[in-house]
């Protein structure tokens, strides 16, 4: 019961914000603007789904912004110029689908690397993914030579700018992933085991769970989802820029925390996180519509994060 009330808190906050903005500006409560907000948050939703699962399992991933950039850049580069394997005297050409798969695979591989650093070498997740934040950004610079890779073709561009039934593709993708991972976290053994590992790793291991394998999987998944976010970003702009996704890890963690996920693990939901993304998205959108300076926007966002978590803690009481 209490759990339901708490979930309602985010919804209530969202409704209040939307109503207030609706009165403040007649540009807010329009279908066009609504779709706009959803499109804007879709990248953060992809990142934050992975982030939620990682945090629920007791970890954290600071590298998602950089992984996003490298995945997008690799997909764009493969699509545009292919891959020249000079020693073998072979040049590989990639179809759009091939490039997409490769981009997601790069994200998954980087995530897996995080997982290996954490499980096999015992690094704290904060440190392991901080390292990857720098590694992946550096690799992106090397891969792109520091220049954006542009004109990626309409097929690829459809991912970012296309629409089906009037709904933009990124919104379809983010929505689909939300539904999929809501199911995964609620109804699969893997999903439930994330909560067990994050709630009490020792008890989980003593109950026979392969804690390391679960962690490897969740970091790889988080990386793959960052890869998807990278594709969406590149497709939307028709350009993979080397500094794409800079600082996105913070927005992602903010959305997860606003959504009621405990940073100490074991508790949180995908739906809550998506609500958190929406709150941040509506806030950004509203402040722009109200022509608040971008500098003030950051200040306000920071206070909203603090308030949301303070309210969540207070309503939880016993903690």
């Amino acid at each position: 019961m209490r759990e339901h009330l708490r979930k309602l808190q985010s919804v209530v906050a969202l409704v209040i914000m939307a109503t207030a903005l609706g009165f403040a500006t007649d540009k807010f409560l329009t279908i066009e603007n609504g779709v706009n907000v959803l499109r804007q948050i879709s990248v953060n939703v992809c990142l934050s789904i992975g982030m939620t699962m990682i945090i629920v399992a007791g970890g954290i991933d600071l590298s998602v912004g950089s992984v996003l950039a490298l995945s997008g850049a690799v997909a764009a580069g493969l699509l545009k110029t292919g891959l020249a394997l000079t020693p073998l005297d072979v040049a590989l050409q990639f179809t759009t689908l091939g490039a997409i798969v490769a981009g997601i695979a790069v994200g998954a591989a980087l995530g897996l690397f995080n997982g290996v650093a954490i499980t096999r070498f015992g690094l704290p997740p904060f440190v392991a993914t901080l390292g990857m934040l720098s590694i992946a950004r550096g690799l992106t610079m090397l891969w792109t030579g520091g220049h954006p890779i542009t004109t990626l073709g309409s097929e690829f561009g459809f991912l970012g700018t296309g629409a089906v039934l009037g709904v933009p593709m990124p919104v379809w993708i983010a929505g689909g992933l939300t539904a999929l991972f809501e199911l995964v976290t609620r109804r699969t053994r893997f999903g439930r085991h994330l909560y067990a590992v994050g709630g009490n790793e020792r008890a989980a291991a003593l109950s026979g769970l392969s804690v390391n394998r679960i962690k490897l999987a969740v970091y790889a998944l988080g990386g793959a989802l960052a890869g998807v976010a990278g594709l969406l970003t590149a497709a939307r702009l028709d350009s993979a820029t080397p500094n794409a996704g800079f600082g996105y890890e913070l927005d992602s963690i903010a959305a997860v925390v606003i959504g009621g996920t405990s940073l100490s693990g074991g508790r949180g939901t995908i739906i809550g996180t998506v609500l958190g993304c929406l709150i941040i998205g509506v806030l950004n959108n509203g402040l722009v519509l109200l022509q608040v300076s971008p500098f003030w926007q950051q200040v306000v966002k920071g206070f909203v994060i603090l308030a949301a978590v303070a309210i969540d803690r207070a309503s939880r009481g016993e903690d």
């Binding site: 699969t188 020792r202 008890a203 109950s207």
Partner: protein, 521 residues
């Protein structure tokens, strides 16, 4: 109270506590207990695990207040609300687990929170080191006060704790099994130090299990049993045998009826299983040990604190693959067990000592906790079916009598006894062959204890082999068919149910004062 007046007039009573009682939910931990500490004398406190020693020490050190009774320090009545207040009154306690910050220096530890400052408000390190050296010199510890504590040997760390207590001007020093982890040489040094402290007029309360230490240091003895004080007298009035007899004799509130199961084939055989202190160490925490458990049999594993009970069970369950060696046979087949997963696959289950830390995911529901082991052993990604999980959990809830409004209740809100039943249910879902129990009723009230005992009996009747480690004699005697006694990591005896009595078991379990276990060859 005229006798009190004479005590304080004579001037040699430092601390006197009278009529101390304390209850915890379901347990009467202390019942009208008294203890007196005199200037320059050491009062050795004896008692089985659970007799109430640590509760008494915690009350004297201000960790929590007594329900009834009074504490007098030099004749003045004291009510401690916090450890700090006991400290100010002159009572210092040195816990078995030392309370030092390992990364800080010796001097920083001694003066933690009271660092001397320079005029600029910075820490005056030269002054602090000088004062620390002055404190340490008479204690025979010649280390640089700037040394990090983690670089010191355990015995030296203990001396640092003592120095800290003395710098707080402690008149009464409580020491909780200070020698349990020390080498012979270090024990000698601690004894010398104790004699020196006594000569300086410090009164000492000394908790120990090692009776052969008493002739070296004890002046008085206090024996606790079942929360009551059964003896308080000068040391030497009775022989050790009689002291042991006083320590035992705890009773369960009601005698527990043991039902005898048909004992079948051997299900677990452990041969020469040992646990080294560290990966490259020749020291053993558990010396090579062999034992076996048959179907329907409950084997009790008795030992005092630090005897190696928990560690032995953990080795069997594959928790120390790098430090342990030996063979494990399940139903006559040799199994390699190097992780809990392999242990579970081989048919073992472990209900650990600390349920909240090792046994349960407290934030998850009763049903999810019960489903955990089955979920871990199932193959494939697999969809979890909450309805089936709920039905399964409800079945065990009824069968084991778990008291909870619904199976969706987070397990953290259950009482200790019901939490233990959840742990047992979790294992029963995967039908183990051998159940390893570590202190199965720790922190559980008397009625729930009886329920757990009858549950264990019932499981044994169903053909399960049970290996139950416990430090509580009444518990072991109530349900074990056979009892293996561990002392300092070795098997110190094996007794059938008929042979065993509290006295015999405790005598076997008491450390003999042998040098610490070392690998032969």
């Amino acid at each position: 109270m005229p006798d009190l007046l004479t005590d304080s007039e004579s001037g040699d009573v430092l601390l006197s506590a009278r009529g101390i009682s304390k209850s915890f939910p379901g347990v009467r931990a202390l019942d009208n207990v008294q203890i007196t500490v005199r200037r320059g004398r050491l009062n050795a406190v004896l008692g089985e695990n659970g007799a109430g020693k640590s509760t008494l020490m915690n009350i004297l050190a201000g960790v929590f207040p007594p329900d009834a009774g009074e504490i007098l320090m030099k004749g003045r009545r004291q009510t401690f609300k916090r450890p700090h207040e006991a400290q100010q009154a002159g009572i210092a306690i040195i816990h078995q687990e030392l309370n030092l910050l390992r990364e800080l220096s010796v001097a920083e530890n001694i003066f933690l929170g009271r660092e001397p400052r320079t005029r600029l408000g910075l820490v005056n390190y030269s002054g602090m080191h000088r004062d620390a050296a002055a404190l340490l010199a008479p204690l025979d510890l010649s280390v640089d006060p700037g040394t990090q504590v983690r670089k010191l040997r355990l015995g030296a760390q203990q001396v640092v704790e003592i120095a800290k207590a003395l710098s707080l001007d402690a008149r009464v020093l409580i020491m909780d099994e200070p020698t349990s982890a020390l080498s012979d040489h270090e024990v000698e040094a601690i004894f010398r130090l104790i004699r020196q402290l006594k000569a300086r007029g410090v009164g000492i309360i000394y908790i120990t299990h090692k009776l052969d230490e008493l002739p070296h240091i004890a002046d008085d003895v206090t024996v606790l049993r079942d929360g009551k004080c059964v003896a308080a007298e000068p040391y030497g009035k009775r022989p050790h045998d009689e002291l042991i007899r006083l320590m035992v004799g705890r009773e369960l509130a009601e005698l527990f009826p043991k039902s005898v199961a048909a004992i079948g084939e051997e299900v677990l055989r452990v041969a020469n299983l040992s646990l080294r202190r560290s990966e490259h160490s020749a020291d053993y925490t558990v010396c090579p040990t062999s034992l076996r458990v048959r179907q329907g049999e409950i084997v009790g594993l008795f030992g005092l604190m630090g005897a190696g009970r928990t560690e032995l069970l953990q080795c069997i369950f594959g928790l120390h693959p790098r430090r342990s060696s030996g063979e494990i046979w399940i139903e006559g087949k040799r199994r390699s067990i190097r992780s809990p997963r392999q242990a579970i696959a081989a048919g073992l289950a472990l209900a650990p000592e600390d349920r909240k830390v090792d046994g349960l995911v407290l934030a998850m529901s009763v049903a999810e906790n019960i489903g955990l082991a089955a979920g871990a052993t199932a193959r494939g990604i697999g969809l979890a079916d909450p309805r089936r999980e709920g039905a399964l959990a409800r079945r065990y809830m009824n069968q084991l009598g778990i008291k909870t409004p619904t199976v969706a209740q987070p397990v953290r809100y259950l009482s200790g006894g019901n939490q233990q039943k959840v742990v047992l249910s979790k294992w029963l879902t995967i039908k183990p062959k051998v159940l390893l129990l570590d202190e199965p009723t720790r922190g559980i009230d008397v009625n729930a204890k009886r329920e757990i005992y009858s549950l264990i009996n019932e499981l044994a009747r169903g053909g399960l082999g049970v290996l139950m480690a416990s430090s509580e004699l009444p518990e072991i005697l109530a349900i074990a068919d056979r009892i293996v006694v561990l002392s300092e990591g070795r098997v110190a005896g094996e007794f059938s149910r008929d042979e065993a009595s509290e006295e015999i078991l405790l005598k076997a379990a008491l450390p003999s004062g042998r040098p610490p276990a070392r690998q032969a060859g």
